[in-house]
């Protein structure tokens, strides 16, 4: 059983003049459109329930307007909820006093922003040290820790530059270093890489994954980019119109999309790279053939299967135990788009 670090339950957010008065209607399931049309309130979040596993990357995915940025701002309470609770280490964030909240933000949680949110009048080193300075850490310790993180994100030599003198990717490295420097256990990333061009974005994903391998932080990562979600997410929650419509890992999202909406925007991804052999294997204890790791993407498995006798391989888990078998036909058909998407008229509208 995986530890739950952040437990979001029954979270609602309604924007408008009288959110509490309108809660009844929302709980009865009034649509976002009707709520705006007839009552002049905007539905931000509707009954969000997500258990974020500790030391994992939880991706929250959704298109613009789905409420993902609103949701992440509830976790450190930059936005006040209309109702619900967020439990972190047994404490309800939404019930904290201003003082407790400040302490919580200083020590336990940090954040990376889409447009970086750096202080333009401070140097890279000072920006990285910002969280430490806020905490009251001064002098040598702040300088050393800032220096260490500046180096770890690959910005050694740029300590005395101002943000305006850096490229977008470098600026976000500063943002990342600033968030890491406070040693917070939870890291919120609000479309952190969305403003970067594709190559730099992949680069930054690598930086993040590499750091995560060592640090095992609980990361909540917001994105509108499915490829990014599938690449870095240990668990993915998909949001639409302020509600969660599916939670699962990348395999579940691709193999068992909860509805046509998800099926529709998963259809353009590179299935052979995302789907792992464990998702398509047959249960079997007695198979023979070349060994394939259960987390191997089909892309890598294909060549092995083609060369194998009978075009069949055995699937083994991390400990080398046989957990199933897979053959070439199955691998190829998994790469093909599911049948129903070939029919016309199913595009999500």
């Amino acid at each position: 059983m995986i530890d739950v670090k952040v437990e979001i339950s029954n979270l609602f957010k309604i924007f408008g003049p009288n959110p509490n008065g309108i809660m009844g209607l929302v709980k009865n399931g009034i649509s976002k459109h009707d709520l705006l049309d007839q009552h002049g309130h905007v539905l931000g979040l509707r009954d969000i329930n997500i258990n974020v596993p500790a030391h994992r990357i939880q991706v929250i995915m959704g298109l613009s307007g789905s409420g993902k940025s609103t949701l992440i701002r509830h976790i450190n309470r930059l936005i006040e909820p209309t109702s619900g609770e967020i439990i972190i280490d047994g404490e309800d964030v939404l019930a904290m006093s201003q003082l407790q909240l400040r302490e919580f933000r200083r020590s336990k949680i940090s954040m990376v922003f889409q447009n970086f949110g750096l202080l333009p009048h401070r140097t890279v080193a000072q920006n990285v040290a910002y969280g430490l300075i806020i905490q009251g850490i001064k002098g040598v310790e702040a300088i050393e820790r800032s220096q260490q993180w500046t180096e770890r994100v690959g910005l050694a030599g740029f300590e005395n530059h101002y943000p305006a003198q850096l490229s977008g990717g470098m600026r976000q490295r500063v943002g990342l270093a600033r968030a890491m420097a406070t040693d917070a256990e939870i890291l919120l990333m609000d479309e952190a890489f969305s403003a970067l061009d594709p190559l730099i974005r992949t680069d930054m994903q690598d930086v993040l994954l590499r750091l995560q391998e060592e640090l095992h932080k609980t990361i909540i990562f917001i994105t509108h980019d499915l490829d990014e979600a599938l690449r870095i997410g240990d668990q993915i929650a998909i949001l639409r119109d302020g509600a969660v419509i599916q939670v699962g890992d990348s395999q579940e999202i691709i193999m068992n999309p909860a509805d046509d909406y998800i099926a529709d925007f998963t259809k353009d991804i590179n299935r052979s790279r995302v789907i792992e052999v464990r998702s398509i294997m047959d249960n079997a204890a007695d198979a023979s053939g070349p060994e394939l790791k259960s987390t191997m993407p089909i892309e890598d498995a294909l060549q092995i299967l083609i060369n194998a006798t009978n075009n069949t391989g055995v699937v083994v888990d991390d400990n080398g135990k046989i957990v199933g078998k897979v053959d070439l036909d199955r691998a190829v058909s998994a790469i093909a788009r599911p049948d129903k998407e070939l029919q016309e008229g199913l595009r999500y509208k």
Binding site: N76, L78, L101, R102, E103, F104, R105, R106, S107, I109, S110, M111, F113, Q114, N115, F116, G117, L118, L119, P120, H121, Y130, G131, I133, I134, Q135, N160, H161, Y162, A164, Q165, R178, T182, L188
Partner: protein, 296 residues
């Protein structure tokens, strides 16, 4: 149908009584509190007189040297330093040294007062929409009411002299710095503020670590405007007994001395340009980090 052609105004007697009541009421007020208010402003008067004497009584080369070094420290521009030196030499040569020093003193003191009062006011306005709602119309009145109108109660209260002049200048010159401080703080990038919040910054950490530094260009524009408006009041304040370049201008108007008016007027302009260029250069220097150049 008479009331259609003639506005149904208040009857004369009533109007006269009303005005009389206001006048009497204020006279009573100034009799009762005038002295107290005067005492309240006493330290200000001392400071102003001290600065004026210092500027006038010190040997002129030292004064010029000090002013020019200040200019250099603040603006770091040879052009401005040379220009300033030339201006003061010409002003002195044309016999306006003492008046210029008196004007310099009152402008400096009133700018200082405006900064000390105006910036906190602007911060308060930026913090709360309600405060902004209350103060904005007051600033509008301060900027648009003809100076002569508020000179009347000020003179009734404090008589003729330097302090009423100082107050008049401040009333006229303070609005820009209040407005621009407010504006500057409100314009600070929302995401930077969010970042400060997300890292647990307190109100004061946010104010002094983020808002004020990022609002500085606007605050500086405000200081600059305040100085310009204070200079614009030099002539009017001289009508209630403030010494300086305004007095000869006033004399020139009543006697039609063209040259006298022109020279003193140009001296005011010279002061204005010096103040303006110096404060603008300083503002620019504060902004160096915004440019993407790689030289530090």
């Amino acid at each position: 149908m008479d009331w259609l052609h003639e506005f149904p105004a208040m009857e004369r007697q009533g109007l006269r009584d009303m005005k009389k009541a206001i006048d009497l009421g204020f006279r009573e007020f100034s009799r009762a509190y005038g002295e107290g208010i005067e005492n309240f402003f006493e330290p200000l008067l001392f400071f102003l007189v001290w600065l004026e004497r210092l500027l006038i009584n010190s040997p002129w080369p030292i004064v010029i040297l000090v002013i020019v070094s200040l200019t250099w420290i603040v603006a770091r521009s040879w052009l401005i330093v040379v220009g300033t030196t030339l201006c003061f030499l010409v002003i002195g040569y044309l016999g306006m040294w003492e008046d210029t020093m008196a004007t310099l003193a009152i402008i400096s003191v009133s700018t200082l007062i405006c900064i000390c009062l105006g910036i906190p006011l602007g911060i308060g306005m930026a913090r709360s929409d309600r405060v902004q709602f209350v103060i904005t119309p007051i600033l509008d009145v301060m900027q648009t009411i003809p100076s002569f109108v508020y000179l009347i109660p000020v003179v009734m209260l404090l008589g003729i002299g330097k302090v009423p002049g100082l107050i008049a200048v401040c009333i006229y010159a303070m609005p820009p710095i209040v407005r621009l401080t407010n504006l500057g703080i409100r314009l600070v990038d929302k995401e930077v503020m969010e970042a400060a919040d997300a890292f647990g910054a307190s109100y004061w950490q946010r104010l002094f670590g983020v808002q004020m530094p990022l609002a500085l260009p606007n605050i500086f524009a405000g200081v600059n405007q305040t100085i310009m408006m204070a200079l614009a009041m030099v002539v009017i304040s001289s009508m209630i007994g403030v010494r300086g370049l305004g007095l000869p201008v006033l004399r020139a108007i009543s006697n039609q001395y063209l040259a006298l008016g022109l020279l003193n007027g140009l001296a005011i302009v010279a002061l204005a340009i010096i103040f303006d260029r110096v404060s603008q250069h300083y503002g620019k220097r504060l902004q160096q980090h915004r440019q993407g150049s790689l030289d530090d």
